[in-house]
């Protein structure tokens, strides 16, 4: 090898050295750059990792604390992950036990569940799936699920995730609300009362009964205002109350007004209107209940008519009793006169036998007169329409005792000072007079004793008139109060006295009854309403 060659080689070597040095330098620079970049990348990476860490822990927290249940499962239904809400909902915890969602499906919803799952896999998601599931303790819950498929980087489905919401209670509430609404509408629709919801005079809702009452259908009525189906004057009158209600002065009112039917006829109805108020107390709706009272009014009219007729015929009957008894009395007076004259004018001719017969005739006439007087009194008992006054019974009874004839051997005693009651003086006097008269008249004892007493309760005065007379056999206890029924053959008994007593007591809504012991006496008890 020549020196030249060596020189060339040397130079080449030094060039190479220089180049290498340069290259090294470049390399060094590049390395340095790379180092710096790496360091930078490292720190960025660290930052990123930190952030991911934060994010995933945030996500973990979110996932754990999600109110709705979250379930992640593989495509065979094996649950991979579930949050607290899911644990709580289903009762299973996959951290403790394995769980496949198929076991959760409610038997009847199985087909639906399978179809929905097939759709999920095919389309990637579904929403608003609603079905029933079993919980671990065999409870049944209704759930709402939105689900989606998770795919790997090759777009191949690998898992499914779902947000599950328990809608059991919500559904229950909704059902019971619907049920209530149904019940309410059944009531409203089947009510025999017409029901109308109106808003400031405009008809908003009606029920069947109201439609039938008016002969319009619902649509026709919704086109109308209340005044269109009312009589003008009556509407104006009702509007005054309506105004008061709108102002909040009253909450409801009732009015009798007429309604115009489709065919132009009208009917009377009792209308009860109530306000449905908003929170601020302003009226939102008026609810009106409409009751057809045409028949009721007709009945009332008929009843009034009947009452008038009854009053009239009652008066006629009373007048009749008066006229008849006066007409009956007239011939009795004549007979009495004629017999008296026969007795007077033929005193010398008539023997004792004939005189006796005439006397007996006169007595019969007398009795007949008594009877007629009794009928007159009986008929006029309920005729006197005196207003009830405060009556001092002690005074009345004392007066009565003065009026009636009391033989020496009979004593009448008022044991308890009698009260002041409300009533009609004439009737009350008649009542005591008849009872005391009987007690005196039929008394057969050497020392006759008659005691008057009374007790009271909240509603009634109860009086007792006790005698020590002959007593009344039990079989007559009811009979004696009937008109013309008498158990004595005395010339004075007409069988009217006690029936007058009973009639008076019944006018005071009281009762009369007797207790009696043969030969020891009788007590008449009677009540008068306070």
């Amino acid at each position: 090898m020549s020196s030249n060659d060596i020189e060339i080689l040397k130079r080449a070597l030094s060039r190479e050295k220089a180049a290498r040095k340069q290259a090294e330098k470049i390399l060094e620079d590049k390395s340095k750059e790379l180092y710096l970049l790496t360091t930078k990348l490292k720190s960025t990476n660290q930052k990123l990792e930190d952030r991911i860490e934060t994010k995933s822990s945030e996500l973990q927290g979110l996932f754990e604390n999600l109110v709705d249940a979250y379930v992640l499962m593989d495509l065979s239904g094996n649950v991979i992950e579930m949050n607290n809400a899911a644990v709580e909902l289903f009762g299973y915890d996959i951290h403790k036990e394995r769980l496949n969602v198929v076991s959760l499906i409610y038997k009847e919803d199985f087909t639906y569940a399978m179809n929905s799952f097939a759709k999920l896999v095919k389309e990637g998601s579904f929403s608003d799936y609603e079905a029933r599931v079993y919980t671990k303790n065999r409870g049944i819950k209704t759930v709402h699920i939105n689900a989606s498929i998770i795919k790997d980087k090759n777009k191949k489905p690998v898992a499914a995730q779902g947000i599950v919401r328990d809608i059991t209670d919500e559904l229950f509430r909704q059902r019971s609300f619907e049920e209530q609404q149904k019940q309410l509408s059944v009531i409203v629709e089947n009510s025999s009362l017409g029901i109308v919801l109106s808003q400031f005079g405009k008809i908003v809702q009606t029920n069947k009964a109201f439609q039938n009452l008016l002969g319009y259908d619902q649509e026709e009525l919704l086109q109308k205002e209340v005044k269109d189906i009312s009589i003008k004057d009556e509407y104006t009158k009702a509007a005054i109350s309506m105004d008061k209600m709108n102002k909040g002065e009253i909450d409801h009112f009732t009015v009798n007004k007429r309604y115009l039917r489709h065919d132009g006829s009208t009917f009377w109805a009792k209308t009860s209107v109530a306000a449905v108020r908003k929170q601020d107390q302003s009226v939102k709706y008026q609810v009106a209940l409409i009751e057809d009272i045409t028949e009721q009014l007709e009945h009332e009219k008929q009843r009034d008519l009947l009452l008038k007729k009854l009053e009239k015929s009652n008066k006629e009957l009373n007048d009749y009793a008066h006229i008849v008894s006066h007409d009956l009395k007239s011939p009795l007076r004549s007979m009495n006169a004629l017999i008296t004259w026969l007795k007077e004018d033929y005193q010398d001719v008539l023997d004792e036998n004939a005189q006796q017969s005439f006397d007996m005739l006169l007595k019969k006439i007398d009795k007949m007169d008594h009877l007629i007087n009794g009928i007159l009194k009986y008929a006029s008992i309920d005729k006197s329409d005196q207003p009830k006054q405060k009556i001092n019974l002690q005074q009345i009874v004392a007066d009565t005792i003065d009026i009636i004839y009391i033989p020496d051997h009979i004593t009448i005693k008022i044991d308890t000072h009698l009260p002041v009651i409300k009533g009609d003086k004439f009737r009350l006097q008649q009542l005591f007079q008849n009872l005391l008269n009987n007690a005196v008249k039929y008394n057969d004892k050497e020392q006759g004793l008659i005691n008057i007493s009374y007790t009271e309760n909240n509603d009634f005065w109860q009086f007792a008139i006790k005698d020590n007379g002959p007593g009344i056999p039990e079989k007559y206890h009811h009979k004696i109060f009937q008109v013309f029924q008498t158990i004595s053959d005395g010339k004075e008994s007409t069988g009217i006295g006690l029936s007058i007593v009973k009639k008076i007591i019944e006018l005071y809504e009281g009762k009369i009854w007797i207790e009696s012991e043969q030969n020891k006496g009788t007590t008449f008890f009677f009540t008068l309403k306070k």
Binding site: R333, S334, N336, T340, D369
Partner: protein, 135 residues
């Protein structure tokens, strides 16, 4: 002093009773009888005899006592004649209407003739001591 009585009464025996009371007591009063209100008006219009006192039954066919009384009271020359009602009825409304129209007395006819005779006698004696507008 002898009176002229007008007795308006449809019942024959009632008329006999009144006459008998007069006769038995030896009264010299004159008795004119009418069977009903119309007859009585006829008698009064004919001026046959002006009664001093009229005894009037209420319950009569044709014109009844109250109707007669009203006509009498509207007649300027007859309205001062005292009228005594002789009636079967002690009906409050009859009494009230009679007194309202204008009567001088109201007698309820008793059942017994003796009681009747006594009442009529009292009446006649009462009127015997009275003064009259028309006499």
């Amino acid at each position: 002093m002898a009176f002229n009585f007008l007795l308006i009464e449809d019942d024959e025996i009632e008329r006999l009773k009144f006459a008998r009371v007069l006769q038995k007591n030896n009264y010299s009063h004159k008795l004119i009888e009418a069977e009903n209100g119309e007859d009585a008006l006829q008698i009064l219009e004919n001026n046959e005899l002006i009664p001093d006192i009229i005894f009037l039954d209420l319950n009569m066919p044709k014109m009844n006592g109250l109707e007669f009384l009203k006509i009498l009271k509207s007649n300027p020359s007859l309205k001062y004649t005292p009228v005594v009602i002789l009636s079967t009825s002690d009906n409050h409304s009859d009494l009230k209407e009679s007194y309202e129209t204008g009567i001088a007395g109201y007698i309820v006819k008793p059942l017994k003739y003796e009681d009747y005779a006594h009442k009529i006698k009292c009446l006649i004696e009462y009127w015997s001591v009275n003064e009259f507008v028309n006499r």
